[in-house]
Point group: C2
Chain length 250, copies 2
Amino acid sequence: MNETITLIKGHRSIRKYKDTPIPDEHLKEILLSGQAASTSSNIQAYSVIAIKDPEKKRKLAELSGNQQQIVESPVLLVWLADVRKIQNAIRQHEDVELEQNVELFLLGTIDATLAAQNAAIAAESLGYGIVYIGGIRNNPQEVTELLELPPLVYPVFGLCVGIPDQEPDLRPRLPLAAVYHEEVYSEAGLADEIAAYDAITKHYYATRKGGGRGGDQETVWSREMLRRFNSGRNRGHLRDYLSGQGFKLK
Amino acid sequence: MNETITLIKGHRSIRKYKDTPIPDEHLKEILLSGQAASTSSNIQAYSVIAIKDPEKKRKLAELSGNQQQIVESPVLLVWLADVRKIQNAIRQHEDVELEQNVELFLLGTIDATLAAQNAAIAAESLGYGIVYIGGIRNNPQEVTELLELPPLVYPVFGLCVGIPDQEPDLRPRLPLAAVYHEEVYSEAGLADEIAAYDAITKHYYATRKGGGRGGDQETVWSREMLRRFNSGRNRGHLRDYLSGQGFKLK
């Protein structure tokens, strides 16, 4: 179709990296690409921390559920919802406190995510591989202390960036019909679409290389979902953590 | 740097569109690009509704704060956090109910946002312009009824897509140093960076064409933030709405 769409559709998460640093000019282009993303009313309510220090990466890998790719990747970018910056800007004019609610929490979260995805695509366009690390929310309080995050800032996810040292298969997605609707939401056909996807993922899990669960003969997507959400990895601590950071979900 | 990064860094939101429909094969490429985005543990907890019906677009424009660009754009994509799909998949195997908490809410929100931003870039790569519509959260209950959204689904934002009928200036962003940190979060220098950005945005707001507030001589970014968050547009209804949709922010 075109170079950009080919790149986007060729995405796979990379979990093994070569021991090669990222030149500063590449990192800068990646970050400037992140900044070019849409942002609600131009509030730019996010920040990003680049972690290169091996010891810090080792600790973050441990805190994120022993994710070795963090240690291997030359740079881990930690994307932060950052409402504090807006509070600082406003305080230059008036002593007004931002009203903390779900909407403000969403504004920061969405801004951080839009910027991160731009950065991810820019990195891939330069030949790097990436993987998102939701596990950064496993132990958010410890991450907050390690990265010295002030109130009104929280880590949404990490993003490993580096030269790929693996070529994993493309992971098939749900049939388009299972995510796409016209004019109104409709569940007609969804059971069939999930069944079709289960058949495709059965083959994928049984044969894939370069990832966990390769060679598993029984796994299908819908059963994976059951396993994933029965695993106890529900991060039930998040609300209390966010509250401690000053985010009120009211 | 390369074609993709040039495209990304050239982004501006488009609020005037030509009266030209989007061919189905382009829309499909845009949606497939969305599907190629990263998704937490492959849960794909999002959906998207394409709205082309003029009457429905008119209503959504009204519900989103009289945003005329929704009426003008040939397609409005409404991106939904969709946890219901996962619940459906799991129920095929066991009668387990997903534990509703902040984390699950985040998983759906982040998945929808990553997919939307991929779709936005793909659309721009095909020559379309886009603008995000956070105003879809102004009246979420009415939007939910209009789009027939079931429980465990909520609209994160809209995305207008169409052939641009304007060429707005590039909107300058905060200095990179104001969003970028190394190893730890630091506010050193932030006040100076905001002051520098205020000076840049003063010129931008005074001279820009093709957007609101053009010709305003007094506006600077930090004061805009004060105005924005003093405007009462704080969407304080969101928590109750989400609760009604079955999302528990606990």
